[in-house]
């Protein structure tokens, strides 16, 4: 590919600004993984079905294997690496996935977490059926989903309690385990 065809892009990923010089055909998933070194986003099917590569772009979940890097120019992107606090404090969803055994091989997990994170923002108090619908764009071959549904349910509860204790400035224990969803 001649140098002249390369495009400069600038994007914000997990609050940090990056620039990259990429071919127009390079997928966002490859930009994240190969150019920015953020290998937490996994690629499972490369045709937009499995959902493993799901990231949040400008507030919406996208399959990063179906988005070109150049389309993410000037965009704000959140990936699994941005879920935990900078000091390593886990996001309630991460806590809940660990607690409920919501992952086995862990390959679909980053995409699943990002979808669930966006879903809980849209629907903070979902029932189990809504959770199933909410994560139905992400395939998991290991768990049979039940523990993932349990985990999202628990995370919703943790987040809502956290919000409540933010309001009431009490119950520090929950504040410690939960971190406000912010993607």
């Amino acid at each position: 590919m001649p140098q002249s065809n390369l495009k400069n892009i600038a994007l914000t990923v997990n609050g940090k600004e990056y620039t990259a010089f990429v071919e127009p055909r390079m997928l966002l998933s490859d930009v994240l993984r190969d150019e920015l070194g953020l290998t937490g986003t996994h690629v499972g099917c490369e045709h937009g079905i499995c959902g493993a590569c799901t990231v949040i772009m400008d507030g919406r979940p996208v399959r990063s294997c179906l988005v070109y890097g150049v389309q993410a120019d000037q965009a704000e992107v959140s990936t699994v690496e941005g879920l935990a606090d900078s000091d390593g404090g886990l996001h309630p969803l991460q806590e809940a996935f660990w607690e409920k055994h919501g992952l086995q091989c862990g390959f679909c997990t980053p995409g699943m977490l990002m979808s669930a994170c966006h879903f809980l923002e849209q629907n903070p108090n979902p029932n189990r059926e809504e959770i199933r619908e909410g994560i139905s764009g992400n395939l998991c071959r290991c768990t049979g989903y039940q523990n993932i549904v349990d985990a999202v349910e628990l995370a919703a509860e943790m987040i809502s309690k956290n919000k409540k204790c933010d309001d009431e400035s009490s119950d520090l224990q929950v504040v410690q385990t939960g971190r406000k969803v912010n993607v």
Binding site: M1, E23, R25, M26, R33, D34, G37, L38, T39, G40, T41, H42, V43, G44, C45, E46, H47, I49, C50, A52, T79, V80, E81, L83, A84, L90, Q94, F97, W98, E99, H101, L103, Q104, C105, G106, F107, C108, T109, P110, L113, R128, I131, R132, E133, I135, S136, G137, N138, L139, C140, R141, C142, T143, G144, Y145, Q146, N147, I148, V149
Partner: protein, 780 residues
């Protein structure tokens, strides 16, 4: 027990949930090149001409290899030979291709984009040969041959027999028949296959490091050594984090050889990551079998005889022997007492992707056959399906139970232990079976069609031959466990730590488990056949015991206290009589290393607080399970909805119930896909029609139901902890229980559901035919 049997959260999770996993595609080794393969669009063809020059000229391409290079390659070794099998194994870059998707050429380039561009520049002239893909076609006398050098498409023809089934069937007062057409599925781990090969030419001999998404690093090392003609001593295979496998990654594939071979040729690290299209057309499939089966019972529903004729599709090559049809043929009797049994099995070559074990490995097919025949018999006798099963299950007091068949290892098949009646009763209880039967009648009055299915099955788990573990106490007091296991999500790092923690009485946090690396331990076999917990778990247990004994001896000599009054707890050895007289595990590890160079080793044991033990079980430990499913069918659209799902398993003594439950749930979801959604379809000429996840339907969270899981624990006498395997059992009864429930729901139409997967379109057709038939009968 303090640690074994506890539902402990997994040690590995914090890394994986933060996106810090390290899968093959994530490895960052400078200078790594990318490989891509050109794959055959034909099911059977001779390569007449191939032009690699345009591809070689593309900027960024390092090398292109084709059939000319393939001439020097050996065929893959034939694993699991069988006296009745005519084995054909794959030859890398052969000039004749035998299925769509077989590699024809390989490009090595700076990155995958360029490698795939180069693939497009390769011109091939194929001479297409007649191809055969479907079982019913392949067995015809004038069918094309899948391999031109063979006389027929029959890869193997064998029988299993107990008693005199034919005679007993003639005598049976009630005989029922059923046909089964079981479709083909893909293992489909969400991480595809992949490996990275890196040679080092600076040592005394060339050495190879391979990072591979494999279930079986030791097997891969031994096959690579053979094919590359390099000593095993100079090959290290590492399986880092592996994103699911389910059988797909137990096989050694031609790509595994080609990538390592190419890395040597181009003198640079080379990585290949399979894409999903390649996965569908080149990674093993399973399940496809046709059966015609009969069951003879007494008027009381007691089994007299079972006869089965099996056709099993083998695909184009034999990567793993004929394990799958052997497993099916030896497990059709399953948990039931079958005094007379006969199975005639033909394994057939076709121009399709090879079939080899996928989670369940021939057992879901076996479970389907007798359970469904029992349904027919119960119907004929007016008996409840649960009752006819109860009357035929092997009783608790009949173990160890000899079936009269030979196991896959050639030894008499003996079930070590079990309590199938209790498993069935628990399932009936948990599912609310009786209540659902009442509901069924109520719903029918409202025009709703509810069906209830029941299936009991077994799994022979924890096959040999062996696995090993090294257990070491570090001078910090921490314990290191090195095993021959490989994980693809089973949580070994937690369960094996629980085993060692139990022996040493130290917290699980103080134990580090390492696996998936041939440099950790000399020998090993791999993660398949639900065997890691049983075999590696026992090796860890035995090695831990031996290290503990050694530590106690050193402590006894060091503290001058008799062994009998010493105890190990919380990382220390102390005198029961005077607990202040104590020594820590770390100090004992230090003692075991000896004092200074030149001094005499002071203890009566061998130096080093480290022991390696291998465990070779004398036979498989057999698990039992019963599933009960309730489905509702919309009579107009024939859409099938699962209303209730119960699964009760006896996996022996559980190491970690949280993890076992996860394994069972995952297995059931694979089974649901198998039973209702997933099917790899080829046309008659061997063209793959389901090459994407748009065509091949993997169940999402909306298709997999809520599952009620129960456990019965019957310890196995074959290992000290009483363990049985748990990795695959979830998948096994699902196709049987779903097919059973669907047929039950449509009882009014009097149809026989013979297909797996069960699809609404088939049901509609069956119902239409049944109505027409009834109409014709009425007119008559």
């Amino acid at each position: 027990m303090k640690y074994i049997g506890k539902a402990m959260k997994r040690k590995i999770d914090p890394r994986l949930i933060k996106g810090d996993g390290r899968y093959i595609a994530d490895l960052n080794i400078p200078g790594t090149l990318s490989a891509a393969f050109l794959r055959s669009p034909h099911a059977h063809a001779r390569i007449q001409d191939i032009d690699l020059e345009q591809a070689r000229k593309l900027s960024g391409v390092i090398a292109v290899f084709g059939p000319d290079d393939g001439q020097e390659f050996d065929s893959l070794p034939a694993l699991f030979p069988h006296p009745k099998l005519v084995p054909v194994t794959q030859r890398p870059l052969d000039s004749v291709v035998h299925h769509v998707g077989e590699p024809v050429a390989m490009v090595i380039a700076l990155n995958r984009y360029i490698a795939e561009d180069a693939i497009d520049l390769i011109n091939v002239v194929y001479d297409p040969l007649p191809a055969v893909a479907h079982l019913d076609h392949a067995i015809q006398s004038d069918a094309p041959l899948a391999h031109q050098h063979l006389e027929s498409n029959v890869a193997a023809h064998f029988q299993q027999s107990v008693g005199d089934a034919q005679a007993a069937m003639k005598e049976a007062p009630v005989v029922v028949h059923h046909r089964f057409k079981i479709g083909r599925v893909s293992c489909l781990p969400i991480e595809t296959r992949g490996l990275l090969a890196k040679w080092d030419f600076n040592g005394p001999e060339p050495s190879l490091e391979v990072y591979a998404a494999t279930q079986s690093q030791h097997e891969m090392r031994s096959i690579l050594a053979k094919l590359l003609k390099v000593s095993e001593n100079n090959i290290r295979v590492i399986a880092p984090d592996v994103g699911g496998a389910f059988g797909a990654k137990a096989i050694f594939y031609v790509e595994d050889f080609l990538v390592t071979w190419a890395a040597r040729k181009v003198n640079a690290p080379v990585r290949w990551i399979e894409d999903r299209l390649e996965h569908m057309m080149s990674c093993i499939h399973e399940r496809e079998q046709y059966h015609e089966a009969s069951l003879g019972v007494t008027n009381e529903g007691k089994i007299l005889a079972v006869m089965d004729t099996m056709l099993a599709n083998n695909g184009a090559y034999v990567p793993w022997g004929i394990i799958v049809p052997i497993m099916t043929s030896t497990l059709i009797p399953g948990p039931y007492k079958v005094p007379n049994y006969f199975c005639d099995a033909k394994v057939i070559y076709t121009n399709t992707v090879p079939l080899a074990p996928f989670r369940g490995a021939g057992r879901p097919q076996a479970a389907l056959i007798l359970n469904r025949l029992l349904d027919q018999a119960a119907e004929k006798l007016g008996m409840d399906p649960v009752e006819i099963r109860r009357r035929n299950l092997i009783r608790e007091d009949e173990f160890p139970y000899r079936t009269g068949l030979l196991s896959r290892d050639g030894k008499p098949q003996i079930y070590d232990s079990g309590n199938y009646g209790k498993v069935l009763s628990e399932a009936v209880e948990i599912s609310g079976y009786s209540e659902w039967r009442q509901c069924q009648q109520e719903y029918r009055k409202q025009g709703r069609y509810i069906g209830i299915g029941v299936a009991s099955a077994i799994e022979n788990t924890g096959f040999g031959s062996f696995e090993g573990a090294t257990v070491r106490v570090e001078t910090t007091g921490e314990i290191t466990v090195l095993t021959s296991a490989a994980t693809q999500g089973q949580g070994h790092e937690t369960t094996f730590a629980q085993v060692a923690a139990e022996v040493f009485d130290v917290p699980v946090e103080n134990i580090t488990v390492r696996e998936g690396d041939t440099s950790l331990i000399t020998y090993g076999t791999g993660t398949f056949a639900s065997r890691m917990g049983v075999i590696v778990g026992t090796a860890v247990y035995k090695a831990s015991q031996t290290v503990k004994d050694k530590a106690l001896k050193i402590a006894s000599e060091k503290l001058n206290i008799p062994l009998e009054v010493l105890e190990m707890k919380d990382g220390c050895v102390f005198s029961v009589e005077q607990p202040s007289r104590r020594i820590s595990l770390g100090d004992l590890a230090h003692e075991a290393k000896g004092l200074f160079p030149g001094t005499t080793f002071p203890y009566s044991v061998e130096p080093g607080l480290e022991v390696t033990e291998y465990f070779a079980p004398e036979a498989a430990s057999v698990t039992g399970m019963t599933d009960i499913a309730v489905v509702e069918i919309d009579p107009k659209s024939c859409a099938i909805q699962i209303l209730d799902y119960t699964s009760v398993h006896d996996n022996g003594k559980l190491l970690n119930p949280l993890i076992v439950k996860g394994q069972v749930q995952g297995g059931i979801s694979n089974g649901i896909g198998n039973a209702l959604y997933e099917e790899i379809v080829y046309d008659r000429q061997g063209q793959l029609l389901t090459s994407t996840l748009m065509d091949y339907l993997v169940p999402s969270a909306c298709e997999v139901p809520e599952m009620k899981i129960g456990h019965v624990e019957t310890p196995s006498p074959l290992n000290p902890l009483g363990m049985k395997g748990a990795g695959e059992s979830g998948t096994i009864p699902v196709p049987a229980v779903i097919q059973s429930a669907v047929e039950d729901a449509l009882r009014e139409w009097n149809i026989k559901v013979e297909n797996i997967p069960v699809k609404p379109a088939q049901l509609r057709e069956l119902m239409r035919q049944s109505k027409e038939f009834q109409l014709v009968e009425a007119i008559k």
